[in-house]
Structure formats: structure tokens, C-alpha cells
């Protein structure tokens, strides 16, 4: 595809996304919001997991920090969620720095980093469950108050749609910058080979911490959005291992370490999950996770670079098949 064709395609897609809520039903908008939300959170995860190569299973923790911080600030002090969002982001970023420093300082990586992040998310879940000041097991409700932008409250789902669409554009911009910058290239170098990266003057601890903090900060913003969209938060839905797993799966299925991978992964998987959930969910709760598991195995086995990798491969095959006839004719006439 030519650069012009790509720009055109992106433009059309952008206009479609911008106008989508005007012609979609409430339910369809809701599904689209879910896709964008998971694409957003998975893109945030992708900065740490995909670019820096540090797989975290604890991103539900950062999501929860964003959700709880803004909600508590709102309920206790009437602080606008927009401000709460930033405070939550900074708290999550600091928490990410703490967890990251604990792990990376002592060379913990790979599976062990997965376990450390998982452990922290579990610790947070148990603390949240047993702390009545933040609602404990019964969670927190956010009061409905009609349309109020300053308090992130809307009657129409379309408005929430634009909020999460905006957030997604932000994380895509950050990711696109990473793909083209010295910082991003250095993160990729660390992912590909940490020893070699260090030998070439890269302070891998500092860069991994940067990626963790950035990823945690952005994830928490999504948490605030979640809280105000759903208007109810509790430890068992937010600090849930399934949720942490889903966040990673969208990136892996779509194409880990790529700009659009998480978006593609969410766009394909969320509707599948939603369909399975509505069709079979009453009798077989959690069956969408079975579907995810099966898909994950297939992807890891046959297309480790995800949907993006598949598309690239198909494009190469297509280019090959197009160049083949000309090749034959040139051979026929020596």
C-alpha cells in the first residue's frame, strides 16, 4: 500500500470512529466503548510489556489505583475526576516505580517479573477487600448526576465514547513517538538483548523504570474512566486476575510491541467475548476465557507476532505473487 493510500485509510477510519456514536445503537456504542477501553489499557500495558519487554500481570493494580483514587477524591472531597485522574496516574506511576525498582534492581525479569507484579496485584486486592474506608468488599458507588463534564458524568454514552477515544489517541501518540525516538529504540534494545544494550551505554534500570512509570500512569487514567463509566468499583471486578490477563491478551493476539496491535486485538476479541458472554454466559459463565485461552494457544503457536504479523506476512505473499509473473517473463526472454 502506498503512503498516500495509508493516510487515506487512516483518515476514513478516523472519520468513521468520530461519527460512530451518531448512527450506532446504545448497545453497539457500549461495545465500541469496551473495545476502545481495552485497546487503551492494553496499549498502556504494551509500552512496558511490548516495547521494554517486561511482562506485567499486575496492570489491574494500576487500573484500580486510578479508579479508587479519583473515586475517593470525588466522594470525600468533591474533587473533579479530571484532577483525580491525574492524581491517580501519579500515584500509580510512583507505585510502578516502587515495584519496578524492587524487581529490576535485583535483576528480576521474565517469568519472575510476571510473578512479582501478580503478587502485588493480589496484595492490593486483599487490602482493598478488607479496608472498609474504601468500600471493602461491597465497593463504591458513584452517584448519578446528569450531564456534567467537570464531573465526568454523562447521560449519553456517546460522550463517554469520546472521552475514551481521546485517551486512546493519547496513548497511540505516545506509542508512535516511542517507535520513532531514541528512548523507544533503547527500550526495544533492552527487550531484544539487555546485556548488549548495557554494553552500548544504555542504563537499563533507568529505562525500564521509565517504561514502568509511564505505563502505570497511563493505565491509571483508564481506571478513572472505567470507574465513572461503570459508576461502580469493587475489588473483585477490578483487581481480578482475569482482567489482568485480558489486558495482556489483546496485545499478544494483536501483535505485541506494535503500535496498532493492542487495538486490533481488542477489536477482534472484545466482540467475540461479548457474543459468547450474551449467548452462553447465563449457563456457562466465564466461557469467553476458554475462547481466549484457545485463541492464545493458536496465536502463540502459529502466529507469534499476532494479527499484525499475519497481515505483514499476507502482504509479503501478495507482493511476491505480484512480482512472480514479471519474473517469469524476464526469464522466458533471456
Amino acid at each position: 500500500m502506498t503512503a498516500l493510500g495509508q493516510t487515506f485509510l487512516v483518515g476514513v477510519l478516523f472519520l468513521f470512529m468520530l461519527s460512530a456514536p451518531t448512527f450506532l445503537s446504545d448497545h453497539q456504542t457500549h461495545i465500541l466503548i469496551q473495545i476502545l477501553f481495552f485497546a487503551y489499557v492494553s496499549s498502556c500495558w504494551n509500552i512496558l510489556g511490548g516495547f521494554a519487554g517486561q511482562l506485567s500481570f499486575g496492570h489491574a493494580l494500576f487500573l484500580a489505583v486510578g479508579a479508587y483514587t479519583s473515586t475517593m477524591l470525588l466522594l470525600q472531597f468533591g474533587v473533579s475526576p479530571w484532577i483525580g485522574m491525574l492524581v491517580g496516574g501519579m500515584l500509580a506511576g510512583s507505585l510502578g516505580l516502587f515495584i519496578g525498582y524492587l524487581s529490576f534492581r535485583y535483576g528480576i525479569k521474565g517469568t519472575f517479573f510476571v510473578l512479582v507484579t501478580l503478587a502485588f496485584a493480589e496484595i492490593a486486592r486483599i487490602i482493598a477487600l478488607n479496608t472498609s474506608a474504601i468500600g471493602g468488599a461491597s465497593g463504591l458507588y458513584i452517584p448519578i448526576r446528569g450531564n456534567d463534564f467537570w464531573y465526568l458524568k454523562f447521560v449519553n454514552k456517546a460522550h463517554y465514547y469520546y472521552v475514551i477515544f481521546g485517551l486512546l489517541l493519547v496513548v497511540l501518540a505516545v506509542t508512535a513517538w516511542l517507535e520513532r525516538s531514541r528512548t523507544g529504540h533503547r527500550l526495544i534494545a533492552i527487550r531484544e538483548n539487555e546485556d548488549a544494550a548495557q554494553a552500548l551505554g544504555i542504563n537499563s534500570l533507568r529505562y525500564k523504570l521509565l517504561a514502568t512509570a509511564l505505563s502505570a500512569f497511563l493505565t491509571a487514567l483508564g481506571g478513572t474512566f472505567y470507574a465513572h463509566y461503570v459508576t461502580f468499583i469493587d475489588p473483585s471486578t477490578l483487581l481480578n486476575m482475569n482482567l489482568a490477563l485480558e489486558i495482556t491478551i489483546y496485545s499478544i493476539v494483536g501483535g505485541i510491541g506494535t503500535l496498532l496491535g493492542p487495538l486490533l486485538g481488542a477489536a477482534v476479541l472484545v466482540p467475540i467475548a461479548e457474543t459468547v458472554r450474551t449467548e452462553l454466559g447465563h449457563n456457562y459463565a466465564g466461557v469467553h476465557l476458554v475462547v481466549y485461552g484457545a485463541l492464545l494457544m493458536i496465536i502463540v503457536r502459529y502466529a507469534p507476532e499476532g494479527i499484525i504479523g499475519l497481515i505483514r506476512w499476507l502482504r509479503e505473499q501478495w507482493a511476491k505473487s505480484r512480482s512472480l509473473p514479471t519474473h517469469h517473463t524476464s526469464e522466458a526472454k533471456p
Binding site: R180, S181, R182, H185, R186, I188, A189, E192, N193, D195, A196, A197, Q198, A199, L200, G201, I202, N203, S204
Partner: protein, 241 residues
């Protein structure tokens, strides 16, 4: 003042002394070759100098300053870097991107790093390979890439860990010429090697290690006739016979 001074360097793993009380100096603009039988402590020595391992005792002085215990990235920024025996390319990146990672050590801007990396690759005769993925390279090109990445950090001292081993005689000759050019460009070199032909041709001074200890230091032509060296390589009985 020597560019690098190693004083009483020791590294113990449990009861084993991989490197024992090792001292030597490298003059600016020279090539020092370190040889020794398997397990003599050659790679450990390079790791101790480049910061990938910490010595149990001893000091490393680079440009007169103590660098013992500093991390590899800090040491690299001071002008000392290494290559790896098992090539450590970034497999999914292109040759150019690989070398750019090294160039970032001296350049903040992506465009500056790109042109610096292109220049390094051109000097190493790899200009035609820039767009290839590192994982598709031949062994000889991987070895060159390893040197290119390190050179892109603009080092004053380059540690080469077995860069010619495993190559055909022709490839060895090419790489020897290339290393000469690197030195002519003002880079001081320490190399460890199994291939005698290469290291004898290149080195100004040879250090021979055996069981972590220095048993010889001197010009290449004296190595083969030194009784201690012959004994280390061929065994005691053969040496006496």
C-alpha cells in the same frame, strides 16, 4: 600514563579462582592479545574490565581513573566497550538499527545517530547490508555487526571477545585487516582469541593466562618459544619430552 591499568585483579567463584592476581597495562593505540587454554579466565577478565562482573579484589584504572565496580553502561560512556563471544545482536532489528543503538551513546537525535551508524557501517564494508534483519546475517557478518555496534559508541578502548573464531581463513584475513583499520582509526584494542594466526598478526603484546594467572607477557614472537606457555598448552610431559 597507560590507557588501561589492571592491578591485582582477582575473581573467585567459590573455591575456584577464575582470575588470580592479574596485572597488566595497555598503552594508547596498541593491541593487546590475551590467549590461554579453555577455562584460563580470558572472558572473565573481559567481563571484569567492562563491568559485567565485579572483581573479588584488585583495581581497573581507565585513563587514570578507577572504574572497578562501575556498571557496563557507565563504563561504555567513558569510552570502553566490549563485544561478546556469543554474538549479541538485536535479532529483530535491521543492521542499521542495531548499530544506531550503539550510536545513541553519543547522539541524542535519531537522525544524527542514523548518519553516524551509516558511516560506521560504510567503514566496515557493510553498507549493502543495512536493511537486513540481524537474524538473517551470516556468521561473518554477525561478527562484523558486533564490532560495528561497539564502534558506534565511539570507544577509546575496545574489548574483542573471540571475534575471528569460527570463520574461514579468508574471512579471518578480512577481519584482521578490518581490525587493523580500527586501530589505525585511533582505537586501542584488547582481544582474546583462540585463532593464533589472527592474534599473532595483530597484537603488539601478548598476555598468556593459565588457570587465571598470567604466565607470560611479551611480544608475539617470544610466545611460542616460552617454556611456561608451551607447558600450559601441551601439558607437562610433552613439554619435557
Amino acid at each position: 600514563m597507560s590507557l588501561l591499568e589492571v592491578q591485582g585483579l582477582t575473581r573467585s567463584f567459590g573455591g575456584l579462582r577464575a582470575v588470580s592476581n592479574l596485572s597488566f597495562a595497555v598503552e594508547r593505540g596498541s593491541i593487546l592479545g590475551i590467549i590461554g587454554p579453555n577455562g584460563a579466565g580470558k572472558t572473565t577478565t573481559l567481563s571484569l574490565i567492562s563491568g559485567f562482573d565485579r572483581p573479588s579484589a584488585g583495581e581497573v584504572l581507565f585513563k587514570g581513573e578507577r572504574i572497578t565496580g562501575l556498571s557496563p553502561d557507565v563504563i561504555c560512556l567513558r569510552g570502553l566497550t566490549r563485544t561478546f563471544q556469543i554474538m549479541q545482536a538485536f535479532p529483530k532489528l535491521t543492521v542499521l538499527q542495531n548499530v544506531m543503538i550503539g550510536a545513541y551513546a553519543r547522539h541524542r537525535a535519531v537522525s544524527a545517530a542514523r548518519s553516524h551508524a551509516t558511516e560506521v557501517l560504510r567503514k566496515l564494508g557493510m553498507a549493502a547490508r543495512v536493511e537486513e534483519q540481524a537474524r538473517n546475517l551470516t556468521l561473518a557478518d554477525l561478527k562484523r555487526l558486533e564490532i560495528a555496534k561497539a564502534l558506534a559508541t565511539s570507544p577509546e578502548l575496545l574489548l574483542l571477545d573471540e571475534v575471528v573464531s569460527g570463520l574461514t581463513p579468508t574471512e579471518v584475513e578480512e577481519l584482521v585487516g578490518l581490525i587493523r583499520n580500527v586501530r589505525a582509526g585511533g582505537v586501542t584494542i584488547i582481544m582474546i582469541e583462540h585463532v593464533m594466526q589472527a592474534i599473532m598478526a595483530l597484537s603488539d603484546t601478548i598476555v598468556v593466562l593459565h588457570h587465571g594467572e598470567k604466565i607470560f607477557e611479551g611480544p608475539p614472537r617470544q610466545v611460542a618459544t616460552n617454556p611456561a606457555v608451551v607447558q600450559a598448552y601441551l601439558g607437562e610431559e610433552l613439554a619435557l619430552a
